[in-house]
């Protein structure tokens, strides 16, 4: 199997090795064509965003206005804070120049002069590695003014790293732009979409690190080649990050549409102690979890996972064996979203806290069956009622975990309870739990 994003070439992170393996040839080829031709090829290749939403990359690029006096920007999202995903750091470490080349081609296609690579602050080591690669690229004439003579073109662009500082929400595209501008990482209301009004009010495109790294091979080997790899409607490869209860966790590059069971059992070495799988979260903690007994035939691509009732997300697969306490897992997930909610929208700010508190009540043994319904109801009231997708991301795990594992969650709560309700006229009466208990 040919790897696109992380080829098996030793020392590919050295520019000499990268160059001797066809490095920057795609950029040369791109500069002989018009930006529209590049966008067209990426569109035809069927490349979808690898950051979670699996949106068609070429289509996204085509939203950039053709006639504008404003500067245009490219943001490359390497915030990578989704629990369960750890793929971008592999690109920074092993194939930084392909990312840089992808950034150059993308800048040319959308007409941007400046690209910002947003890397999460905790990745000190990878920021240093990436900065070193960028400095080398400048030195050798593959970025900045010097690239005009290197490529024999009148186009040039700059690439800067913007270091995040520990906020999950900054992986959301509009929040990421606010963060680059030097504000708190608050998501913006859409529309206007970034292609109309992005960074500093200028047209902006935001792509994931893995998406951008896919661009050079598409240009050099052609869109037909790319579109034939993996699942037809979601072509290419994915960096599958497999973690949790598996024998060989790690990042593996394989075509899209791989069987989930094949990834877990053959590639990641199966579950320690040959235990059964209870639950799998297929695309980072925001995506709806799947039952272990319903994994047969589920494939890792946008279409197949949608059918199975989940989504591909960042392809961060978390595996939980039969002995896992799902209540504790769910509490940890709920705590994460409560902590990371930026606090702009009431449903998310308050709802994530309520969900965490209610789950804690269940853990402490005070939960009732009605609490499970309450949790689903809170989740439903967050979903779709917030500015950004963090609300949905917080709601889905709670909602689907309880719905799909109701049998297990029922064992954590008391069956027929008749806890006196202190103030029945209060709007919280449906919770059937003393308010003091809720507020503790």
């Amino acid at each position: 199997m040919e790897r696109i994003v992380l080829p098996e070439i030793p020392n590919l992170n050295q520019i000499e090795v990268y160059l001797s393996n066809g490095g920057f040839e795609a950029a040369k080829k791109a500069f002989c064509q018009t930006p529209d031709e590049i966008i067209d090829q990426v569109k035809k290749s069927g490349l979808r965003g690898r950051g979670g939403a699996a949106f068609l990359t070429g289509l996204k690029w085509s939203f950039m206005p053709k006639t504008t006096n404003l500067p245009k920007y490219l943001c490359i999202n390497g915030d990578e804070s989704e629990p369960g995903s750890f793929k971008d750091r592999q690109i920074f470490e092993d194939n930084p120049f392909q990312l840089i080349e992808g950034a150059i081609i993308t800048c040319y296609a959308i007409g941007a002069k400046v690209a910002y690579l947003y890397i999460r602050g905790e990745y000190h080591k990878w920021i240093k590695l990436m900065q070193k690669a960028i400095d080398t690229a400048y030195e050798k004439g593959y970025l900045g003014e010097k690239m005009k003579s290197t490529f024999g073109t009148d186009f040039s662009c700059d690439l800067y790293i913007h270091k995040g500082a520990g906020a999950y929400i900054c992986g959301e595209e509009s929040s990421l732009m606010n963060s680059i501008e030097g504000h708190r990482g608050y998501p913006r209301v859409k529309p206007p979409f970034p292609a109309q009004k992005g960074l500093w009010g200028c047209p902006t495109t935001i792509n994931n690190v893995e998406t951008i790294t896919n661009v050079p091979p598409i240009i050099s080997k052609g869109w037909e080649w790319f579109s034939k790899i993996g699942a037809p409607k979601h072509p290419g490869t994915l960096l599958y990050g497999i973690s949790g209860h598996v024998n060989k966790p790690g990042v593996y590059e394989y075509p899209t549409g791989m069987l989930l069971t094949e990834l877990i059992y053959d590639i990641a070495g199966g579950v320690p102690g040959n235990k059964k799988i209870k639950c799998v979260i297929p695309g980072g903690s925001s995506m709806p979890p799947l039952r272990g007994d319903k994994l047969e035939g589920v494939r890792m691509d946008a279409e197949s996972l949608k059918e199975a009732g989940s989504a591909v997300g960042t392809a961060g697969i978390m595996v939980m064996d039969e002995d896992t306490n799902l209540l504790k897992v769910l509490i940890r997930i709920a705590h994460f979203y409560h902590h990371e909610s930026c606090g702009q929208c009431t449903p998310c700010r308050e709802g994530t806290g309520w969900m965490e508190k209610t789950l804690h009540r269940i853990l402490e043994g005070h939960g009732t069956s009605k609490d499970l319904d309450l949790l689903i109801s809170v989740a439903n009231n967050i979903e779709g009622n917030t500015i950004c997708a963090l609300g949905d991301a917080a709601a889905w795990p709670v909602k689907f975990m309880i719905e799909r594992f109701r049998d297990e969650f029922e064992t954590y709560v008391k069956k027929d309870v008749s806890i006196p309700v202190p103030n029945k006229v209060h709007s919280m009466r449906n919770t059937a739990v003393p308010l003091a208990d809720i507020y503790k």
Binding site: E122, G241, M318, M320
Partner: protein, 157 residues
């Protein structure tokens, strides 16, 4: 004593400033530089950042208080960060967390009396495949066991 940036750091701020069309955008880089120099971000430090960049103090405050990696209180020489998110938790992160707490004798966001260690329970650090993990200052320590954690902490004491 009032906080002043060193000459070297002023040059670094100037370099960061050049990446962006506005001075405000350089605030995150500048706060990092200030934290490196001063250890934490006090009100005085925020004022100096605002001065150097020519921006409003409130802009600095709003950014400092939003992001978790900026500290408004002094932290230990070694800031120990333990990830307890799902992937790490499934592989025993809470055992690591308890062992670190016991070993250092402090709880979340506390500093040891000798100011050598501080402890923080952090969200996913992007090391899920190499769980459980801790980070000390800027370095990741992955694929840990309780024994390995003890060794690492012992070597720093």
């Amino acid at each position: 004593m009032a906080f002043k940036f060193t000459e070297e750091n002023l040059a670094r701020i100037e370099k960061a400033r050049k990446k962006y069309p506005t001075a405000l955008a350089a605030v995150m880089d500048t706060i990092y530089i200030a934290q490196e120099q001063n250890g934490y971000i006090s009100t005085e430090v925020m004022e100096e950042i605002a001065n150097v960049l020519g921006i409003d103090k409130v802009n600095v405050l709003s950014v400092v208080t939003f992001y978790t990696m900026y500290h408004t209180k002094p932290m230990g020489k070694y800031h120990v960060q333990v990830c307890t998110n799902v992937s790490c938790m499934l592989r025993g992160a809470y055992e690591i967390w308890d062992r670190v707490k016991e070993k250092l004798g402090i709880d979340n966001m506390e500093v040891t009396p000798d100011e050598k260690f501080s402890l923080e329970e952090v969200e996913c650090m992007g090391a899920c495949g190499y769980a459980p993990m801790i980070a000390i200052n800027e370095d990741y320590y992955e694929n840990l066991t309780k024994e390995k954690v003890e060794e690492i902490l012992e070597s720093l004491k």
